[in-house]
């Protein structure tokens, strides 16, 4: 998807927030794309990890927040252990999720999950989903 970058489109506040929450210097990303090739969710995400980092670098807030990438990430760290720049990409992605969750907006509503599914799932599934996808 093409994005026009102008002085006005760069959301500096957003770039700073992602940096603070993640603790990662994601500006050092050189766009090699290793992360994208190893991401197990690549079939399901609207943009690749490389692209989401690129969008975040340029402060294109609305696109970063509207694509499903951050919600599809399972924090498996496959990208993180392979990044030649040593960026912990899952941390950057978590920061993006938190920008929504910290406004008290859930991605998943616990009470909307089918009761039969809750009964058959391991507790670890609920705990981890609620940690990653509820406010």
């Amino acid at each position: 998807m093409p994005s026009t970058i102008t002085k006005r489109s760069i959301d500096m506040d957003f770039i700073e927030k992602v940096g603070t929450i993640s603790g990662e210097a994601f500006k050092t990303c050189m766009q090699c794309g290793t992360c994208s090739t190893v991401c197990p969710m690549q079939e399901s995400t609207e943009v690749t990890p490389r692209k989401i980092i690129h969008l975040a670098q340029w402060g294109i807030f609305s696109t970063v927040m509207s694509v499903n990438m951050a919600w599809m990430c399972a924090s498996c760290h496959t990208c993180a252990v392979r990044c030649p720049r040593g960026i912990d990409i899952p941390k950057v992605v978590e920061a993006i999720r938190l920008l929504t969750l910290r406004k008290n907006k859930n991605f998943v509503e616990p009470f909307e999950i089918v009761k039969e599914q809750i009964e058959e799932m391991p507790q670890a599934a609920m705990v981890s989903t609620f940690r990653k996808h509820t406010a």
Binding site: P110, K115, E119, M126, F130
Partner: protein, 271 residues
């Protein structure tokens, strides 16, 4: 039973030492020996809600307070906690809390049913705020942990003293209502998991068989007042009092060998 006759209506002697307390930010001078509830009444508040048994059992009068210069949140039941100088307080008689609806006949007594009814319990962060705020010193965080582990018996045991005041829910970061969840757990345990007590079964059968009907009729008759015969009424009341005072119950001091005089409902093998 709430015996309204014992509620103190008289304003205490003001010769007593007065201490300043702050009710919802407003300062009042109240006698130092009063409970928070009596102090509020002394200050002019009238209870419509938030005063239940006045005996520390019902959990209706949960109160939150702080002391100057101390960040700790302190809690107590208004009917039990004596005022302290400079405490500033508010009562939290009610806090909105999610309460699951489940069909009693259909429950199986499994942890998964609690998970399905209250999935939010998996949002617990083990922050321990619930335990710290509990006026009954219940290890709330630990019973939530036990429920997550599927150990309903342990959760029922740990939460047994809960008076449903709801203070835990006011502090929960995961936004769950611990006390409602624990109540469901205790109900599942009581109905489907705990070993049934043969004593209770026998006693219920004895009541159903009409064994106590005569005695009950006698009590009912004594309680029927005749507006035109005050002497007879007084006699009946005295008889009722005598019956009440002579009632039998197992005292805490008795050992295993204690038995009531009426052996009708005792189990044969328990003798």
């Amino acid at each position: 039973m709430c015996d309204t006759a014992t509620i103190e209506k008289k304003v205490p002697e003001v010769a007593e030492e007065l201490v300043p307390i702050y009710i919802m930010g407003k300062k009042y001078e109240v006698p130092a020996s009063l409970t928070i509830m009596k102090a509020m009444e002394y200050a002019g508040y009238q209870y419509i809600r938030g005063a239940g048994c006045r005996g520390g059992i019902c959990g209706a009068c949960a109160t939150v307070y702080r002391k100057p210069g101390d960040y700790h949140i302190r809690v107590g039941l208004a009917c039990q906690t004596v005022v302290e100088a400079d405490m500033y307080l508010t009562q939290i008689p009610f806090f909105p809390a999610n309460r699951a609806v489940y069909k009693w006949e259909d429950v199986r007594g499994e942890a998964e049913e609690v998970f399905a009814a209250y999935p939010e319990l998996f949002r617990c962060l083990a922050c321990n705020a619930c335990t710290k705020v509990c006026p009954m010193d219940i290890p709330v965080m630990d019973y939530v942990a036990a429920i997550k582990q599927g150990n309903l018996e342990k959760a029922a045991e740990l939460s047994f003293d809960c008076i449903q005041c709801g203070l835990c829910a006011t502090r929960c970061m995961a936004e769950m209502a611990q006390y409602h969840i624990a109540q469901m757990v205790r109900r599942l345990v009581g109905a489907k998991i705990a070993v049934p007590s043969p004593h209770v079964d026998k006693q219920v059968a004895a009541i159903k068989s009409g064994h106590y009907d005569e005695a009950l009729k006698e009590v009912m008759a004594l309680g029927t007042m005749d507006p035109f015969n005050q002497d007879a009424n007084k006699e009946n009341i005295d008889k009722l009092k005598e019956l009440y005072n002579k009632r039998q119950g197992e005292s805490h001091a008795t050992d295993e060998s204690w038995e009531p005089d009426d052996k009708y409902a005792l189990l044969e093998d328990a003798r």
